[in-house]
Symmetry: C2
Subunit: 128 residues, 2 copies
């Protein structure tokens, strides 16, 4: 199981860690029912703080990917998914984006705007 962290990245550590677990689930290197290291252990081996690891674990639980219980630890609860269509579509998208000479930032903006049309946080006044 490869959980890699880049301390110099602009992405928050807990995001990186959660993303790493998600990627592991998708590519099959982490399978359903598998037990992740305890937060304290993982924090030790990745040289992170326990709270940072627990924050990532908490995110994954909210996404339904992880089951957390005291004394036992973190267990993957990811249903089997068929990703062939997703990876194929992603390949097509990246190819099309390259042909259109879209920068990575632009493509990410595009994807983000489709995934999250409006900010979810409380926004009493709305857009200006």
């Amino acid at each position: 199981m490869f959980l890699s962290i880049h301390p110099q990245s602009s992405q928050p550590l807990y995001e990186q860690l959660a993303g790493s677990v998600r990627a592991g689930i998708l590519d099959g290197s982490i399978s359903d029912g598998e037990r992740l290291p305890s937060a304290r252990d993982l924090a030790g081996s990745l040289d992170l703080n326990v709270h940072t690891v627990l924050r990532a674990y908490g995110m994954l639980r909210e996404e339904g990917l992880l089951d957390l219980r005291r004394g036992r630890g973190a267990v993957i609860t990811a249903p089997a998914r068929d990703l062939d269509a997703v990876t194929a579509a992603l390949d097509t998208l990246l190819d099309a984006a390259e042909r259109a000479q879209l920068s990575p930032e632009t493509l990410l903006s595009l994807v983000r705007s489709r995934l999250n049309p409006v900010p979810t946080r409380l926004d009493p006044e709305g857009p200006r």
Copy 2:
């Protein structure tokens, strides 16, 4: 021209602004050669600081989307792009992701990892 900003969003204001301009270029509401408001004007109408707007403008310039010159302002330098293939591929991807029951976070992680395999900032030690 719609440049909308959500002050409550988790995304930085300058990122939102840059993303809004990118989106405007893509959907045709901002066209090549068009002049954006001066940083001071835009900051006034969006209720932002001048530096925040200039930071967004600077990002867009680095991406080759904007030409900045003193006294004249900000002019779009976006080449015409054919986005039909991109939007079609994006539709397919979102559909496939929904079928596979991937959360938005997971899908974004997936796209990000394909766009940016390794963090670009200086990272003397590499992953741990």
